[in-house]
Subunit: 587 residues, 2 copies
């Protein structure tokens, strides 16, 4: 762990210096932590353009360093390669490895069986099969390599572009054990069917899928907190229906119901040019985030989300306020209206579209920052996130951030959609499906204070010799309330320590504090603490506090509700402390 912290420190002074120090040390640095800042760059560049620029200015130094690394230990080698790849990622096209006909042919099913160190860890890459079991412990990115176990490497290497270079391929080639069957190779190139979901976009395989159709998935927690701005590819996906195919040229946004105003139709081009472009960094969270913890108390209805149905992105678009003003909205003639409804272009077989609404005062407030967003993380919205236009309602539950936005209706009433009226509401633990009256509870809008531990994960092992443990996570509150503190306990909540908060990418200048009531983005947090002596297990707990001093409830059962929403009790993770072998021998 000392090494980890060292490594973190180094990343702040920049890539080149980091490498030099490592060369001097020649030690087996666990580099997974150091990869964090690289991902950030990837996240912001999204596709490699900026990475390419980076390579041009620093590449030669890198390669020079790499030559030295190749003579070093295995781990350092891997580390150097790992970094070197990040530069080439943007421009280098990885060459396919030539098939070796003497090796056996495996089906995808056979590969899929090898997903653990015990069963062997197999992966495919460009039609070849690799048994990388022995490499797992040397992987600079740590356990994350197991995310690809039993499947294809390509999508992961696309996310972590550090891999896209020759030296990595050389290492990989040592582990080759066979070829993928011709049929499965063809399948990998995937033929579209008539399935309504057949035009759904491809997704990153790192995502943990809760439902394939409609597509609902979250990133592994250990990836989530690697970046302050979540790369779009691993931003959690929460679709209620198939992803609609929207032609940006014919796209029209309808605005209706503005009292004293006129209906308005806006093309994508008009939305982009008639209104100032406004950018907001905002965290979105599904109401069902952490539902799996409620499921453990008693079965609930809904997707079994882990702790990662939450992500943070920058969003750019027109302000909803400006568009409503353009449609003739005037507060003095709108006394009777109090809601703004949104209809998506996604629909089911009956033609029913997704819909939701928000309070009018949030929509028209100067400080509400509600966007009709056409960009995410600096690029066009991805298909899964609402291309070409979605609503972003900062501080408000994901369900109201309607994607593939087709219509805006100013109204006296809330949206009549199922999702507004009979879903996404909180109830007492005493309420069951026989007694529930959905009218008795308000539709969830602002979400309560939340936090969770992303590292270490449940069941992880901490070496006693490390002497300390680093805990990481995220914290966020709805309604623009800023997270002001995260308390972390290593003993189940008996004693607490205060974590360090992070409100920008690591190594970047921290963003200035947001104005009161407009803290839309999460904070990442981290605590490195001495391992408590003489314990064999840590029960790590976190709880956050926002600037209204709202705090998370201690336990899950008393906030359990039949839909499993609003699961924000203290997050708990148990890890094992492993005594050193030498010490164990002495015992």
């Amino acid at each position: 762990m000392l090494l980890l912290r060292h490594c973190r420190g180094l990343t702040r002074v920049g890539l080149l210096k980091t490498q030099r120090v490592q060369l001097l040390q020649g030690a087996a640095l666990p580099v997974a932590v150091c990869a964090g800042s690289l991902c950030a760059r990837w996240g912001s560049s999204h596709g490699g353009h900026k990475s390419g620029q980076y390579q041009r200015s620093h590449g030669p130094n890198w390669r020079h360093a790499l030559a030295g690394l190749l003579a070093g230990t295995g781990a350092v080698l891997a580390y150097g390669l790992y970094h070197s790849q990040t530069e080439q990622a943007a421009t280098t096209i990885v060459q396919p490895i030539a098939p070796a006909s003497s090796l056996p042919i495996y089906t995808q099913d056979e590969v899929t069986k090898h997903r653990s160190v015990e069963e062997g860890v197999w992966v495919t890459y460009k039609g070849s099969v690799y048994d990388i079991t022995e490499f797992v412990s040397m992987h600079p990115g740590g356990d994350k390599i197991l995310l690809a176990a039993g499947g294809a490497l390509e999508p992961f290497w696309a996310l972590y572009a550090v891999h896209s270079q020759d030296h990595v391929l050389e290492i990989l080639s040592e582990y080759k054990v066979g070829e993928l069957s011709a049929e499965d190779r063809r399948k990998q190139q995937s033929v579209k069917s008539t399935d309504p979901y057949s035009t759904d976009p491809e997704r990153h395989p790192a995502l943990r899928i809760n439902s394939l159709k409609p597509f609902n998935a979250e990133p592994p927690p250990e990836i989530l907190s690697d970046n302050y701005i979540t790369p779009s590819a691993i931003f959690f996906k929460r679709n209620h229906l198939p992803v609609p195919q929207v032609d940006p040229k014919s796209y029209l946004l309808q605005v209706e119901g503005v009292p004293g105003g006129a209906s308005l139709s806006l093309s994508l081009e008009e939305l982009k040019t008639r209104f100032p472009k406004h950018t907001v960094t905002a965290t979105l969270q599904c109401a069902g985030n952490r539902r799996s913890e409620m499921n453990k108390v008693k079965q609930v209805k809904g997707l079994n989300w882990g702790i990662a149905a939450i992500s943070n992105a920058t969003w750019s678009g027109a302000r909803l306020k400006d568009v409503l003003l353009a449609a003739g909205y005037r507060s003095e003639v709108a006394q009777q209206t109090s809601h703004v409804q949104f209809e998506g272009l996604d629909s089911d077989v009956t033609g029913t579209t997704y819909g939701a609404s928000i309070p009018l005062n949030k929509a028209v407030s100067e400080e509400g920052d509600v966007l009709l967003a056409y960009q995410m993380n600096g690029e066009d919205l991805p298909a899964d996130h609402g291309y070409p236009v979605r609503v972003v309602v900062p501080g408000t539950v994901g369900a109201r951030n309607v994607k593939w936005l087709g219509k805006i209706i100013v109204s006296e009433e809330e949206s009549s959609s199922h999702w507004q009226q009979n879903d996404y509401k909180g109830f007492s633990p005493a309420t069951d499906w026989d007694t529930v009256d959905f009218k008795s509870a308000p539709a969830i809008q602002e979400l309560p204070i939340q936090s969770a531990i992303t590292q270490p994960v449940e069941g992880a092992v901490v070496e006693r010799s490390a002497e300390e443990v680093t805990v990481k996570g995220y914290a966020w509150s709805g309604g623009g309330r800023e997270v002001v503190r995260v308390d972390v306990s290593l003993d189940g909540g008996r004693t607490w320590q205060v974590a360090q908060l992070q409100s920008s990418e690591k190594g970047q200048v921290p963003a200035p504090s947001p104005p009161p009531g407009r803290a839309w983005a999460w904070k990442l947090w981290e605590l490195t603490a001495p391992l408590p002596p003489a314990v064999q297990e840590l029960e790590i707990v976190c709880k956050a506090v926002d600037n209204s001093y709202n705090m998370q409830p201690d336990s899950v059962a008393p906030i359990w509700n039949l839909r499993g929403v609003l699961s924000n009790a203290w997050h708990r993770v148990k890890v094992t402390v492993k005594e050193d072998e030498e010490k164990q021998k002495l015992l």
Copy 2:
């Protein structure tokens, strides 16, 4: 419970009748409960003047009743004694310590030279000289002791009456180093030491006093939830300093610092006539409400409030927004300012006034409803509540609702007052007085979700024959977030039932739902449930949920903080279930 309910019914018919019934019953009625309806009449007066009138017209009845009460049981007797003592505290003069002639004689000039830890900290008290240098670091009131350095203790002890106890004098005597010269003693005596609290108004005897000077008191919980609008007389009092005497004819409110604007002076008459009168029903809560529960976990610093440092009233006055606009406030020229500071007319012996600030966006928001109030519950503000003008900041901690308002300053900075900078902030349970950094936490503004049980009270007895139990309480959340549900448990939190919410006086038409974000008033709640069979004790628990679905934390220890603020864990009350005598005989 039957007795309690009986008593409540009686309170509606007025004071005299209530007392007669009590006298007739001759039972140990908790009379505090029955005092509820009195307060309405008593409360409408303010300061000593009208109270005097009240006494003249109703006093004899009161005294008569008291005579009867004093003949009652121990509990009732104790109640009378309690008040008798609090009255004496105001007038008792602590006996001087006998001079010890063997010690040296010092002049006031010599004493005055010792005003710092470096030079020594000397003080005088009743003609003796004390070197308290070593005691400074042990002083429970912290650095404030240095205000008296080089001078007399009397004026400070008059302000902080907690010192008027024998053990304080014992501690002081250990530090005696000499006698003040006869000439300087004469000089000190010639300066009439007047009690700065001598002009404080009379208060309602039902109040439970936490501190007499300054006056801090709360109503008994059983009274609190009898009225949706708390009568002014039993509205909790939280004074930091003596109540200032303000002449309404010469009163001037100063408004300063408005960028691009001019300073403004407003008489009381101008405030009432130049600006529209606006009325808001708002609950105020002290940051220290329920501190006593934290004290049980581990000693904290502060007044030992029970659950009733919270009350609800109607407030009328000018909108702060309108006054700032009149002073020239324009949002487009005020980009650099972000706070509005308030200064009270109450001050300590050094002339330091009470002060606090709120964020500018709350002050100028159309929906913030911040008032410069000159009426409480339809009458002039009572002296204890800020006569003639106070700030009412709905949804915000009591401490920012500055009373006896003298000055408003628009500023780039928060108030520099002790109460904004070094008090009224929340910390981790791990933070102690050695490690606390007040700059590391934000000043409390909006308060978190809160609820408590007012009936039955801890230790009450419920008759098994009653077959059911009625539980009552209050629930409120800061920031205009509306309470949407209160869950009540009779078994310590294992199972829950949903309480009925009440948002107006009983029997009145319920008030319409407030606009989103403007739910400033509490909700009272009530649950009548069957007595669980075969239990001898009920552990009644309540927890509330607001419309951001924030919930109260389960337990006190994990939210404990050194100042004992923000105590909002589930409230728990244990009551005994008494089996009927006949049944008991059968057993």
